[in-house]
Symmetry: C2
Amino acid sequence: MANSSTGDSVTDRLVRVLETFTPARTVQTAAEIGRRSGLPRSTAHRIVGELVDAGLLERDDDRRIRIGMRLWELATRSSQALRLRQAAMPAMERVQARIREHTQLAVLEQDEALFLERLSGPESGSNVTRVAGRLPLHASSSGLVLLAYGGHELQERILASPLTRLTTETIADAGELRRKLAEVRALGHAIARGSIEAVSTGVAVPVRDETGTVVAALSVVIRRDAPTVPALAELHRGRTEIERALGVRS
Amino acid sequence: MANSSTGDSVTDRLVRVLETFTPARTVQTAAEIGRRSGLPRSTAHRIVGELVDAGLLERDDDRRIRIGMRLWELATRSSQALRLRQAAMPAMERVQARIREHTQLAVLEQDEALFLERLSGPESGSNVTRVAGRLPLHASSSGLVLLAYGGHELQERILASPLTRLTTETIADAGELRRKLAEVRALGHAIARGSIEAVSTGVAVPVRDETGTVVAALSVVIRRDAPTVPALAELHRGRTEIERALGVRS
């Protein structure tokens, strides 16, 4: 994620501090945060100190810094992420219990698929998705659904951008991606075989709100050559349950 | 939650803006945020604008403001809340599937029990807990566990504070609470009958990390007069699974 280049407000500097924390880097020293945020050392130290005082960051016994429970609470308790996720959980649990593979809910965020939830069983196969992690729109089944229903402007922007190849099967050609998106809209689902990991196939369906807008993608990650029909049947049932929980009249 | 009175840094003002969003108030106008944050109108508008530019808040089609997905993502992806919750989910799903009542995970945050997760089935009974919601330490079974193992200083602070009565059965007397905490430590679990809602009983056990520190409480909310022994057996099994996932050697 590039740093904001639109200005240098205090909020921007604060975001640059928060962005130094990643799933792979959950604990840092204040000096590391300063270096990684690209902010002047004294500025970074002051912001970290203020965030610790406010409880948004926490200092452990070794004076290393991590994201505070208070920040998670403030960001979660009134968020759309929580509302969607709570509406989806009972359906996701049923899909996971029946298909016994990773079951996921993703939304569109800054031209990527952001995963709000992932449920996995002990026997589920390989899967790179994480809660609060992202995947490219053109490569993942969730992303293909979000892109296919995401409107013309988004589609043209993605089609004009470099389509990074994650595996030999990732769609990296704009014409091919355009045909795939038309297919997703025609079928009402996306199947992405081997395009994130060679050993897995993603299967995703759109979830709509009461206005008919696609607000999320519900997906499962199955073994590459597992049949997709049972997964699709469960996903369509799950999607209907979620839409009902979101207030959509069927 | 009272506003910070320790200073007036930009971070404080930003927290005051974020604190105006609650589970019951997920969408507000900029003017409402200004009024509720207690900040000067122009200051509140500027901060809201900066937070919208950074994606931490979002503006909908009616120009009303809500918490942004980007804030949820930054607060979640590297948080201890997510780590604990992911370690606990498989065990929580098993407890929920067997007891078929609300199954919850809570941590200590600012002298209250903060709930990281809640799983419920269609047949689960009454329950006021929400994800990212809080309950008082002296009233909830999770809170009693977190308080009983939370150290002398925390206990004396809570014992010296007003113990608000939520029902006629909430412990509101310091001497009685002190005896209850000793009982929780002696038994290794807390049972709170009717102290949050008259119709429900909370049952909670401590979850420890590899240093032996209690880092969370695992609980179920059952019907008031349901037997507690099956719940306790499942909670102890679940707790062991979570501790193993956290790297505790048994």
